[in-house]
Each structure stands twice: as structure tokens, then as C-alpha cells.
């Protein structure tokens, strides 16, 4: 603090120093207001999303394996029209499966790449609900050693597995997986 003989000047200087000290130690008010507003908005949006869930975005158009009942896997490969086959092993009760569908398969870049290059077949497990699976579903699960859902298996034109992706991976991991299979099987 500045030393002075004048009591009035000393008081003013002291007051100025206090003001300066307050500014240095204070949390910016604008900052606090914006933070509080965003937190309130976040709570409101979360409640709104819980009460009024948004409509699902367009996802990959999967064919159902049940539609191929009576066919064997070699016949499916033969009728794929020179496209690779992508099996998605799925179960209705499986939360990671629904997350993969909601978060990853709705990504436009992934969806268009998959639909352009693959015949997409969803193999839905019904073991928990019905106690048994259809013949084709059981055969496919056994052939590709499916032990968890979701599992995505890419199959080449020769009928051999070209790659397997287990679990609800990130969009980037799915895109890398799909692009590698496509580039290696051109």
C-alpha cells in the first residue's frame, strides 16, 4: 500500500486497494450465470428426452434371417449378387445391441457404406424367449462361434468369414472394420 501523510488520501488508497483485491479474487459473474443457465438447460433437456423420446433415425436396412428359412448358408451366399454378406447376431433383450443400432448404425457414413457393399442380414437369437432357435440361426451361430451379442461377421463371396467384430463398438471402430473388409475383398 502507498505510504502517505494525508489521512483522507490514505483512506482512498486503501479503498482502491480493496476494490482491486476483490477483482483479483472474485469469480467472474458472467461466467457463473452462463454455467447456471447451462445446468438448468441440461436438466430440462434430460427430463424432456426422458418424457418425450425422440423418433429413431434411419438405420441400416437389415434382412431378417427368418426370411431365409429353408435355405442353407451356401445358398444365401450364392444369391448375394456378388456382394459381401454382413451378419449381425442380435437379441431383442440385449441392451448393447440396441445401443449399436441407435448410435452406430444410424451414422449416415456407416449406413451408406454398409448398404452399398453388403447384403445385410440380422440373425436374431430367440433362445431366451422361446427356449430354442430356428435351424438356420443355430447353424450360423455355431459356424461363426457366436458367444455374445452383438456380433457382426463379414462373409466373402467364397463363403468364408473375413472378419468379426464383437460388442457395441464405437462408430469409428465399425467404419474401420467395414472399410478394411471392403478394401481387402475388392
Amino acid at each position: 500500500m502507498v505510504q502517505t501523510d494525508s489521512p483522507a488520501l490514505a483512506d482512498n488508497t486503501s479503498e482502491a486497494a480493496n476494490v482491486k483485491d476483490y477483482r483479483l479474487t472474485a469469480t467472474p459473474k458472467v461466467f457463473l450465470i452462463v454455467a447456471a443457465a447451462l445446468i438448468i438447460l441440461r436438466v430440462g433437456l434430460t427430463v424432456n428426452e426422458f418424457v418425450n423420446p425422440a423418433a429413431a433415425a434411419a438405420s441400416v436396412q437389415w434382412k431378417n434371417a427368418q426370411d431365409f428359412a429353408g435355405s442353407s448358408e451356401p445358398e444365401i451366399v450364392k444369391n448375394s449378387g456378388k456382394k459381401l454378406i454382413l451378419y449381425e447376431f442380435y437379441a431383442d433383450w440385449c441392451t448393447p445391441c440396441t445401443r449399436l443400432e441407435r448410435d452406430v448404425m444410424t451414422n449416415d457414413e456407416i449406413r451408406s457404406t454398409i448398404e452399398k457393399n453388403f447384403v445385410c442380414i440380422r440373425v436374431t437369437d430367440r433362445l431366451k424367449e422361446d427356449g430354442k432357435n430356428a435351424r438356420l440361426v443355430a447353424d450360423l451361430q455355431k459356424r461363426y462361434r457366436v458367444f455374445a451379442f452383438p456380433t457382426v461377421v463379414a462373409v466373402g463371396l467364397d463363403g468364408e468369414s473375413k472378419g468379426t467384430l464383437v460388442g457395441n463398438s464405437s462408430s469409428m471402430a465399425v467404419y474401420r472394420f467395414v472399410s478394411r473388409i471392403i478394401n481387402q475383398n475388392k
Binding site: R23, T27, A55, E109, I110, K128, Q141, A148, L165
Partner: protein
């Protein structure tokens, strides 16, 4: 004033001139994940969950934990870390917000840049094995790593500056719960319906893991830029969740900064 170049330079030097810290970052940030990627590509396997963790937000937190802890709070003024020279560097006191913002920006840039570099190297490795990542994908990865670094840096700063023992315990527990949520295998095991005690145990585990993921989303929310850019349906909730948490942490960090840090070691 929101930014102080002297504090920025001192923070960068403290973070990047310690050989042990750099060795740790090189191993866990680069050698392990890139090695895992190369091994997976060589054998035609897809990315593992551990790899995804090490190249995502968990990887950023691992890099920043060692590189950036001890760069704020009382530890910065201890002798042996250059703290004894700090009073000589400043001709005037600095504001608390200036101190916190400078530290936050510097730590975020260090952590984000290293994690983004790691992600880019992973993309380059994949390219030689047929994996392509679009320009949008690469851009998204870089932005996501900086966003991850930003919120982690704010959380770390808050935990370094608030010395209250109860808060320290809560922050450590919250970090481990978040980490638990990140390590949950994102699969459901195939098999027939189970009953009785086994079902109860399975349901209890599921509730525990779901809770840890929900708590993780609450304390360290993220924004998936790649999905956001490529989605036909835009949701404003993830950005609002991210920035509300970020601003809350920074505001609390400024409030928690005491006189000692505020004057950066001077009386």
C-alpha cells in the same frame, strides 16, 4: 486478463521436461495402443475394447494423469519444481480466474495434442492394412480428443485446487466409478434364460454397471463429433451436458483457488 504467458510457459516446462513423465506417456500413450493396433491388423482381428479405451477418453485421462497432475495448487510452489523462482517472474499479482484459465488451456492443449497425435498415428497404421478413415472422421477424432482433454483438465484442476478431504475422497471415488463404467464389456452373453440366485446376481451386476455408466455420463460427459456430423437427427443435449459440466468445474476451481495459489507463491 484471462491468460498469462509466464504461467503457460512454466506449466509446459513442468509437464514436458520430466523424463519419467515422458517415458510413461510414450509407453502408455503411444507404444501400447499402436502396438495393439499393429498386432490386430497383422492378424486380421478387429479393434479390442482395451484398444478403444486407450485411444479414447480413458487414454487421454491416462496421459494427463501423469503428465499434468501436480501442475496446479500448492505443489507448483514447492522447491525442486522451480517454484522458488516463481515470485521473481511476476511484477504484479494475478487474478484467480487468470491463473485457472491459463492452467486449464495449457493442460488441455498438451493432453489433447498428444492424444490427437496418437489417433492420427493409429489412422496411418490402419491405412497400410486397408483401413480408411474419411477426412470427416479424422477431423472428428482430433476435435473429440481436445474436447476430452478439456473436460478432464477442468476436473483435474478442480481436484488439485480443492484441498478439502471430503471433496478429495468424492473426486477419487467418482473417477474410479467413471473408469468402471468405461471398462464394462459392451456385450450380452448368449445363452438360455437363467433363474433363481444366478438371475438375481446377473441383474444386480447389470444395475451396478448401468449406474456406473450413468454416473460417468454425469460427471464426465463427452460429445461424439463423428456421430453428430453424420447423423440426420441432431440432439443438443450432449453439447449442453458437456459445456455445463465444463463451466461448473472451472467456476468451482476458481472459487477453490486460495490466496497462496492466487499469488503464485508470493506473500
Amino acid at each position: 486478463m484471462w491468460f498469462n504467458r509466464s504461467i503457460c510457459k512454466f506449466t509446459i516446462m513442468s509437464a514436458c521436461l520430466d523424463p519419467m513423465k515422458l517415458a510413461y506417456v510414450a509407453l502408455l500413450g503411444f507404444v501400447v495402443p499402436i502396438g495393439m493396433k499393429l498386432a490386430a491388423l497383422y492378424h486380421g482381428a478387429s479393434d479390442s475394447q482395451t484398444f478403444e479405451m486407450l485411444t479414447g477418453k480413458v487414454g487421454v485421462s491416462f496421459i494427463m494423469m501423469v503428465l499434468c497432475l501436480g501442475l496446479a495448487g500448492n505443489t507448483t510452489t514447492q522447491s525442486g519444481r522451480g517454484g522458488e523462482y516463481l515470485p521473481l517472474m511476476f511484477s504484479r499479482p494475478i487474478s484467480r480466474s487468470e491463473y485457472v484459465f491459463t492452467k486449464w488451456i495449457t493442460i488441455s492443449i498438451i493432453g489433447g495434442a498428444l492424444a490427437a497425435l496418437q489417433n492420427l498415428l493409429v489412422c496411418i497404421c490402419g491405412y497400410f492394412f486397408g483401413e480408411t478413415t474419411s477426412a470427416v472422421g479424422v477431423f472428428s477424432l482430433i476435435i473429440e480428443r481436445f474436447l476430452d482433454a478439456g473436460i478432464l483438465a477442468a476436473g483435474m484442476l478442480l481436484s488439485m485446487l480443492n484441498k478439502h478431504p471430503v471433496f478429495q475422497i468424492i473426486s477419487i471415488v467418482a473417477f474410479y466409478i467413471w473408469m468402471l463404467g468405461q471398462t464394462v464389456p459392451p456385450v450380452s452373453v448368449a445363452g438360455p434364460q437363467i433363474e433363481g440366485v444366478d438371475k438375481l446376481a446377473l441383474d444386480a451386476t447389470k444395475i451396478l454397471l448401468d449406474s456406473s455408466q450413468a454416473l460417468g455420463d454425469l460427471v464426465l460427459p463427452g460429445i461424439n463429433i463423428y456421430d453428430m456430423i453424420n447423423s440426420s437427427r441432431f440432439s443438443i443435449l450432449p453439447p449442453v451436458a458437456y459445456f455445463s459440466t465444463l463451466l461448473l468445474y472451472l467456476a468451482l476451481a476458481i472459487s477453490a483457488t486460495n490466496k497462496r495459489e492466487f499469488f503464485y507463491g508470493t506473500n
